[in-house]
Subunit: 635 residues, 2 copies
């Protein structure tokens, strides 16, 4: 149970007395409520059946794919090139007669833990709901399987209750109650997980309570001298940045999900942001963090920037994926808003040259805020998404005009492109630009314009909407990522694409797309994103098929020396490989930590270790034999 010293901390908003103890928020009167773009009833703004805002969507009109949604630059556009790309790639015409799924008429009957409910209603002020729609929209994340299950009303288990704590103390209360009455808790933030991490375990027999953090989204304090800020964990990325921008500051953490994902989710999954080169990944940004566990609140006592004080438990909280407790408050570093933000792009004769360029930029540690390299297939796809004259066309024009003689030998089916984002003061940006273009030249790269770069970044948030449209039209598609040492980067890209091609061929899948991009660079390696999709109109269970191929691709990734995940986390869908990734000793250490912090396994999400293995009752029980041995790296 929570130790006394953690019991009185950040108080509920209406309380006027400052919290005692060592709360990260020392005086709740300093805190500031943030108006969120996401309402408490999230389905009023967000799709119940897929990604993003209700008013933003791809759709077909007169055989042309269009996008509606004024929140995005593509809003109101017709996309004839994209339509053609889809038609050619998948031999498929847009079908405007298809219907999107309907909400279920009934919901799974809730499991009720009467003593828990009695005590919750009697002793706490925590708001709750048992309405079907509230429960349904919090039973899942955003994996293909999640969405497919939603559309086909396949969820047998959804949360039996949703609760909305408003502060750290209410979370402490809820965790205590759940532990006492043996109720399972699912910490629910932005719901954007793509690892199955927040998907309700379908075999849980206890009452499941979704702990929605959206109502704990205050800015607790801002310290301009230290350039640190303390937020409650439920704040959504775009809300956080909007609030800070009004103060001339930024955290600069921009995962592709940042419109909807929350600070707590970033910490729980070890998120990575597009601009990590300037601002750092989430582990570089976190100064302090609090996590409420059944055994008390885990946190560090001081806000010093770097300490040598035994094992660093922040790194146990980071990546805990909801299985150890609820993250409630986070102190982050902030930076002054950059005075200059500039985009750029480069073209390379082929992907390998592009990778060499990326490696050299990393070696010289001169990365701009973001630099991303797309392969030819992905580049074409990106071009197709443009409503106006495409980048592709403009690149070709530029080439024709400026490089036609010296670049004659280039194969336009091999060409690939990098997008660049520079942030800083003018002099720094200019210096960075000069250096980047100088390095690019060594690898036969040439500038392809700032406008092209900007389009690439702006598209990021729209692309997330394509998956649901594809699923609707008979194409299953999804991305997966890894990280890998530099010397295997090209090999891994090639091998994984080949593997997917051969898996498709084995299964007589004739219409598909597989592409990749290098999205992050580090001293010792890079992050690689794959996009894979195929036409599933003739397939009985397209998601099962997709997952089987993705499974093979992951085997291939691992055997090429890639990691299980760069930033999406393990969740349920990659738990098959977790033990191997951290070794037996590591997975048993995780289990020991879990048993200690959550002895009744109320956070039984089944992430990292498959559910049946995560919480053996006998301390020394040997791990069950795995049916298929995960592959060894070809070293």
């Amino acid at each position: 149970m929570a130790a006394k010293r953690n019991a009185v901390t950040t108080e509920a908003p209406e309380s006027s007395a400052p919290g005692e103890g060592t709360a990260l928020a020392l005086d709740s009167r300093l805190s500031k409520r943030v108006e969120s773009v996401i309402p408490k009833k999230r389905h009023e703004a967000l799709k119940w059946f897929g990604w993003g805002y209700n008013d933003s969507q791809f759709y077909g009109k007169d055989g042309i794919i269009c996008f509606r949604g004024e929140k995005y630059p593509l809003g109101g556009c017709e996309l004839p090139s994209f339509t053609k790309w889809v038609e050619k790639k998948f031999d498929l015409r847009v079908d405007i007669t298809k219907q999107y799924p309907q909400l279920p008429r009934t919901y799974p009957r809730p499991v009720e833990n009467a003593p828990f409910l009695h005590e919750l209603k009697g002793t706490s002020q925590v708001d709750y709901s048992a309405e079907g729609i509230d429960r349904l929209v919090r039973c899942h994340g955003q994996t293909l399987n999640d969405i497919y299950s939603l559309w086909h009303h396949k969820f047998r288990r959804i949360p039996d209750l949703v609760v909305w704590p408003r502060c750290h103390d209410e979370v402490v209360q809820l965790v205590r109650l759940a532990h006492k009455h043996n109720v399972m808790l699912v910490p629910f933030g932005g719901g954007t997980s793509v690892s199955g991490a927040i998907t309700c375990p379908q075999n849980e027999s206890r009452m499941i309570c979704a702990l929605d953090t959206s109502q704990m989204n205050r800015l607790l304090w801002l310290n301009r001298e230290n350039l640190t800020v303390c937020f409650e964990s439920g704040i959504v990325g775009q809300d956080l940045e909007r609030v800070l921008r009004s103060e001339g500051l930024t955290v600069g953490h921009e995962p592709d999900s940042y419109e909807f994902s929350t600070l707590g989710g970033w910490v729980a999954t070890r998120a990575s942001g597009m601009k990590k080169n300037v601002y750092g990944n989430i582990e570089d940004l976190v100064v302090r963090v609090r996590m409420v566990t059944p055994s008390g609140t885990l946190e560090r006592e001081c806000s010093a920037p770097r300490v040598s004080c035994g094992p660093d438990f922040n790194h146990v909280i980071l990546g805990s994926e909801g299985t150890l407790g609820v993250i409630t408050e986070v102190v982050l570093k902030v930076r002054p808003l950059p005075s200059v933000r500039r985009y750029g792009s480069l073209a390379f004769p082929n992907f390998e040259q592009g990778v060499l360029f990326m490696r050299e930029v990393a070696r010289r540690r001169c990365q701009p805020a973001s630099v991303r390299l797309m392969d030819n297939e992905q580049f074409m796809f990106g071009q197709a998404l443009k409503p106006e004259k495409s980048w592709w066309a403009s690149v070709v024009d530029a080439m024709k005009q400026r490089y036609v003689t010296s670049w004659k030998g280039i194969d336009l089916n091999q060409i690939c492109a990098a997008t660049l984002l520079f942030e800083g003061d003018l002099k720094d940006v200019q210096r960075q630009e000069a250096l980047i273009y100088e390095i690019a030249e060594k690898f036969q790269g040439f500038p392809a314009g700032g406008q092209n770069g900007e389009r690439g970044y702006i598209l990021t948030f729209v692309i997330a909407y394509i998956r649901d449209f594809g699923l609707h039209q008979g194409i299953v598609a999804e991305s997966f990522e890894t990280s890998v040492p530099w010397d295997r980067c090209s090999l891994l890209c090639r091998s994984v694409k080949q593997r997917v091609v051969s898996e498709c061929s084995k299964r007589s899948i004739n219409y598909y797309t597989i592409s990749c991009r290098v999205t992050q660079t580090y001293d010792a390696g890079a992050c690689i994103y794959f996009y894979f999709g195929f036409r599933s109109t003739d397939v009985a269970d397209p998601v099962e098929l997709f997952e089987a191929i993705e499974h093979s691709a992951r085997d291939e990734i691992l055997s090429c020396g890639g990691s299980l995940s760069h930033h999406h986390g393990v969740g349920k869908i990659r738990s098959h490989w977790y033990r191997n990734a951290v070794t037996e000793t590591g997975s048993s250490l995780y289990s020991a930590a879990k048993r200690h912090l959550d002895p009744k396994n109320i956070f039984a999400l089944g992430n990292l270790l498959p559910l049946e293995e995560a919480h053996p009752t006998a301390e020394a029980s040997p791990p069950p034999p795995t049916s298929s041995t995960p592959p060894k790296a070809k070293l």
Copy 2:
């Protein structure tokens, strides 16, 4: 017990077959033995009774303090200014009649675990020694208490046996044997700990075996494309850098102890290097690490640069301080050697202005490889250490010549100085220099010359020898460090110095020195080093007195919002505050991890948690009440 997959890994050097499994060294034939500056019989090169080389030492001659030791630039110098400084500060003349201590004639009788010894000798090829001198020089680190205890033959318990494993596999064997026969193991690297971490627990009744890692110091491989290198953990800092330098590379990790401390020790204590601004602290440099525990080898399966794969157990190994297992192999990042290395220095009218300068440099993230700010007292001390015309004199000259009119108002008893080290290519260094001097000017700082800066850095390694000379002459002195958010930096420096002054006054200590420097800067705060010493000629137990005052100073540090330690670690001497620093939940999580990895507590070093609390047999036993409650931060 070690899992099978960890059993056959890096082989002993004489083995010709490459190791199986997932050893960090994939083919032992690639590995390279490194000739170390430190022999296996370490006392043949290093002082048994104090810091450093046998042939390097401060001493008195004709009333003047001199330094012998050709390994250092001060070697062969007379130090008249330093002599005067000591005389004035401590009212003490150099006494050349005093003798250094003699080796004890007898050693504590070893505790022998016969079955362990039998199996060790029968089944392993591990070299060992039970000689008194081998045991004595591995029973301690370099705290004042350690050295004082050595000089006064106060150690009741020293290792009963020393073993020298030559590779990961032999460590696995030793840990298995020790676990089987319940023998305590002390991982021993460079012996430079200043936290009591490797000091033999004086109440241990089991056989104590010092596991000396010095014979596992191979370079296992070097990957130029990834810029990563794999070393065995026993390699000494200067050996590691020498080997890499011959390849045109550097790790760039330079803690003040780096002549003698080992890679394994750096990881176990979470070390910080002088040049961390360019190269990073040890946690930024480690890509992979292996630690052998009684429950198996803890390591990550892949070498990807950044992963999202659950809690990061590297951060449990980092800071484990020998209590969880033996670190055997480490993959580190390397960098090309910088083409330019340039020194600089700055003077500021007072310490507060200097701190504002440091803060601004950190805010603008333009730190050179190293920037350190000394207060007035420490600046004077540094000047005194110069054999030739001092920096102080040259600064005064420079001021007189160049700034006399505009700087008339400066109080020379307030002036302080920063030393600078720039590394990189010429253009980068020039740009950095220009920016640093521009920022300094805003805070009334002015350049005081590159030569002065260089001297400051060169002195670093010599200063470590002063402590023993002081102790010999009747002065006890030691440093201690912390890290703190920027907004408390000046306050903490002031408060801690005032506290020491008042503690000295209370105890009628009239001759003392207390000074500080800011040695590292981070986005959100800084590292501060304090130096404290007093004349102990009239004191019965000078070390006890020193520790009492240091204890008060640490209380003051904590109440000012400083950390328990920036990079020295907790060890035994700061274990009093550990629970408070990581909260009850954190310390019980540490205990749970410890129980899991080391169920028989064979690594019973008593670091982090005081011995009696570290390993309660009953899982859920409440922590014993602490007699004095550690102070709360004045927030």
